[in-house]
Amino acid sequence: MTGKRGVQITAGNREASDRLIKIAEAIHGQLCADNIPYLEVSSRTKNNIILDEDHKVWKYGSDVVTRSAKDLGGATNILRNLYTIDFIREMIKSGKSSTLREMYYISEGWNKAKFPTQDESNKLAEDLEIITRNMREDFKLRPEEDGARVIGDLTIAEKNRKGQVKRFNCKDDVGESGYGIPYNVEEEKLQIKSVKAKMILAIETGGMFDRLVENGFDETHKAILVHLKGQPARSTRRFIKRLHSHSNLPVVIFTDGDPWSYRIFASVAFGAIKTAHISEYLATPQARYLGITPSDIVNYELPNDVLSDQDTNALKSELTDPRFSSDLWRSEIKLQLKLKKKSEQQALAKYGLDFVTDTYLPEKLKEMGII
């Protein structure tokens, strides 16, 4: 839809704007009724995520945090919400968008509502998503970090800044670094035209992604290679989700063998605790973990490091995380706690540069029944 002077206002934008105004209305109503203003937001802890049976992803439960103007922190938070709502409303009206970082800097002029850190402003944007059940893209807010890279026989059409739709293939029409996933991967911006592959393989580290590209794994095994770039950005997760929905191809996650990497997998497959309100948009419950598993460390006799105290605590915390409650995960985590060891993906180079593409991945994929 197009507003005045070519300003685009999507249905999502309009819905978000309406819902944000409802928040302001509620607060105004509380004041008129002589009540202390308050806001309720789902509590974002691992104790408050439950499995959504319909979508097979983890979402927030019923625990809410109430921010009340009774105390200074709560009152300031409510005021910040109002300023942010006003700011978003103006952006939607004028067809602009801003990064989360820009919003943090804009808050400099908000007096008492100024954000002390960008972390605070990011959290507040998440609060608004949770309350409105809209995504921040609907608010015209985008993250700083871009999505990661893709290489594989995949043809997409992307609308560029001038509104022209460009169509290209992610194997033939891109350079060595692949196709960069934009922050907005929704239908109106990006369409998937065709996928000629047998699997989607998401890789944690840039080094391993480049190794697979150099070894031509995308062609030899007909894989769409997606670089996760550490903890994957929302757009990367959303892209994998859309790609999977479109092609129904198996999704395989290949990371380092440490507790932090398991969380990367969990955020792709089950939904992240921070974004559990939009898990059904972001998570791909069909995604499967390939490795490095603690068993791989033993079976492949991989070079390893000793677990740090933080690693151990993270593993223990995962034992109480409902997302890791399957028998397989529990036994692997317990094995690792016993081994007290962790290994990186690139430790596979112990057996030569081709070992990962010639031996490890084929063996593991076969084991998983994918090839």
């Binding site: 302001a24 004041l31 009540n35 009152a75 109002l82």
Partner: protein, 620 residues
């Protein structure tokens, strides 16, 4: 016929003079090492000067100078006072004879008691440097000023005057002593001359001390009150406080001719009837001459004293510093946010009157993580050594300070926090653990009394901390209602395009507290001193409030109490407050006449019948 061996022995048995004994055992008097010797020398000289000035009713101004000599281990010490001076023929005895003094048999609170102090300094100087003490004294402008060199003959405990001359002295009256001693000077140390003088100034706010240190720096500890403490009264011994030896001496030198008059005139709290009962129980004739009692009779008499009950000795013989003056002294020397001081009523242990005073200061510049410093005083003299062996320290350690908001490992021991504790024990006979008077012994009555005083201080600190926490909360709430809430209203109205809602109701709901805020303004007008106190009571609740408010006021002239519905009784003003409607406030106040600036700096407000959260007043 061979000579009996005992007679041979007798030849080598001779009286060891007290001076000789102390010459060989100088640690008994506190001269253990050069650092301590330096401090003790200053202390003895200053104590002597203060006692002399106070006895003569003179506001003491003491000048202390320590200077280096060519020998790096030797220092020259000079202490001068503006006291009454000493008549010529007594000078040598006062400074050159141990156990010579005017206070030995007086039962009265004083700094020095046994007359050992200053002559021990002379002795120490003589033993370490071989130099005599130089004493200069003048009793008035109409009399010559004498300067003498004095030493002690350690064999017979007699003073030795080495030289004597008449000199011109610019001072009207006073005494000055100069000694050269082996010592060590510490600049920054807990047990330093500077600390000692500073502590002395704290508990003696009527004293001015000028101290010139070896580097030539001059430190002045100023006088904060121009009034001498009430002189301590002499009292006669109490039958429960007397020691056997003293009783023997009293009997031997009594001028009474009959036992009944001996008991009634030379003791306190023995009535003629009591005397007859004592003598009856001891089977001693009432008419017996006190000088004729044999040892068995004395022992029986002593036992009977302790079996019988007597009225406690009078306690007006003590001269406490007073809580207000301690506070002034503390605040003058140490920068802190909060000070509370207590003067307990006098008590008695074993027939000896004593009185405990305690103070605590909290916050300000004091370091938060350190263990609390304890300033100990006995009869206005700072105690700097043997902290661990002192009843005052033990009382501090016995208290669980954690409920009072201070840190303390395991709930005992010296607490930690931004605080300093002061304890003063005044007594006609403070039970020191040793002759060097560095620590007071563990007497149960004293231990309990110090404990009670400290717990009162602790409670005040706790309520001070609570007040601070609550005030922070209240200032946060003010910030909400003043800055944030109106913005919330404005912004939400703007977004939805509606008028600003009224906020009064929400404001009272957010505050939901009664705030009692007090302010003190001091001013002088036509030579009169006014301390104006105002108290604002703000009802930030949704209910109408009706209650009573009490304010403890200092002794002195209180005037202009407002509003009308009040009454004043035994140092407490009571108001009937209210009804105050929600979001309304009332003002109360009064004026104190005659107090100095900062004498009254904390308004103690209590309430009764006031429900809900209250900030600024404690429930009565």
């Amino acid at each position: 016929m061979p000579q009996p061996y005992a007679e041979t022995m007798a030849k080598s048995q001779k009286e060891i003079s007290i001076s000789d004994f102390f010459a060989k055992n100088r640690q008994i008097l506190g001269f253990d090492n050069p650092s301590k010797a330096m401090l003790v020398s200053v202390k003895e000289a200053v104590d002597n000067s203060l006692d002399a000035c106070e006895e003569a009713g003179i506001l003491p101004t003491i000048y202390v100078r320590i200077s280096r000599t060519d020998n790096k281990d030797r220092f020259h010490l000079l202490v001068r006072d503006n006291g009454p001076g000493i008549v010529k023929k007594q000078i040598a005895s006062v400074f050159g004879r141990l156990l010579y003094g005017s206070r030995f048999y007086a039962i009265r609170q004083s700094r020095g008691q046994q007359g050992i102090g200053i002559s021990a300094v002379v002795l120490y100087s003589q033993l370490t440097t071989g130099k005599p003490a130089i004493v200069t004294s003048k009793i008035s402008d109409d009399h010559p000023c004498h300067r003498m060199e004095v030493q002690i003959n350690t064999k017979n405990n007699r003073p030795q005057m080495i030289s004597s001359e008449v000199v011109l002295w610019e001072h009207h009256h006073g005494t000055q002593i100069e000694v050269e001693i082996v010592g060590r000077y510490h600049k920054e140390k807990r047990q330093s001359v500077y600390e000692y003088l500073k502590s002395t100034a704290i508990v003696n706010p009527h004293v001015e001390i000028i101290f010139k240190d070896p580097d030539g720096m001059i430190h002045t500890f100023q006088r904060v009150v121009d009034k001498l403490p009430l002189p301590a009264q002499e009292i006669k011994p109490h039958p429960h406080g007397i020691e056997l030896g003293v009783l023997k001496n009293m009997l031997a030198y009594s001028e009474s001719r009959k036992m009944t008059s001996f008991l009634t005139t030379e003791f306190c709290r023995i009535s003629p009837r009591g005397a007859r009962e004592i003598l009856g129980r001891a089977s001693i004739s009432e008419k017996k001459n006190p000088r004729r009692l044999n040892l068995d009779e004395i022992l029986v008499l002593y036992d009977v004293f302790n079996q019988m009950k007597f009225m406690s000795p009078p306690t007006d013989c003590l001269s406490p510093i007073g809580d207000l003056l301690i506070r002034k002294g503390l605040k003058k020397e140490i920068d802190s946010k909060f000070a509370h001081t207590v003067t307990r009523d006098p008590r008695v242990y074993r027939g000896t009157p004593f009185q405990v005073e305690a103070g605590i200061i909290y916050g300000g510049e004091l370091p938060a993580g350190d263990t609390v410093k304890i300033l100990r005083f006995a009869n206005r003299v700072p105690l700097l050594y043997q902290q661990g062996g002192c009843v005052m320290t033990h009382a501090v350690e016995r208290i669980n300070w954690r409920p009072y908001g201070m840190e303390q490992r395991g709930g005992k021991g010296i607490p930690a926090g931004p605080a300093m504790i002061l304890v003063h024990i005044a007594s006609t006979n403070a039970p020191f653990t040793s002759e060097s008077k560095e620590a007071v012994a563990d007497v149960d009555e004293i231990l309990d009394e110090v404990g009670r005083a400290l717990m009162e201080c602790g409670r005040k600190v706790k309520s001070h901390i609570n007040k601070k926490v609550k005030l922070k909360k209240v200032s946060e709430k003010y910030s909400i209602i003043k800055d944030i809430l109106p913005e919330i209203a404005k912004k939400s109205s703007e977004i939805i395009g509606k008028p600003n809602p009224p906020l009064d109701g929400v404001i009272t709901k957010i505050m939901n507290v009664t705030v009692i805020d007090s302010g003190i303004i001091y001013h002088e007008e036509g030579g009169e001193k006014f301390t104006e106190v105002t108290i604002k009571v703000q009802n930030y609740t949704q209910k109408t409030k009706k209650f009573r408010l009490f304010v403890k006021v200092p002794n002195g002239l209180i005037q202009g109490i407002f509003p009308e519905r009040n009454r004043m009784k035994s140092g407490i003003i009571e108001w009937e407050i209210g009804p105050i409607e929600p979001a309304r406030s009332v003002r109360l106040g009064f004026t104190i006449l005659g107090l100095d600036r900062a004498d009254y700096d904390d308004v103690d407000v209590y309430h009764s019948h006031l429900t809900g959260e209250v900030i600024g007043a404690d429930p009565l």
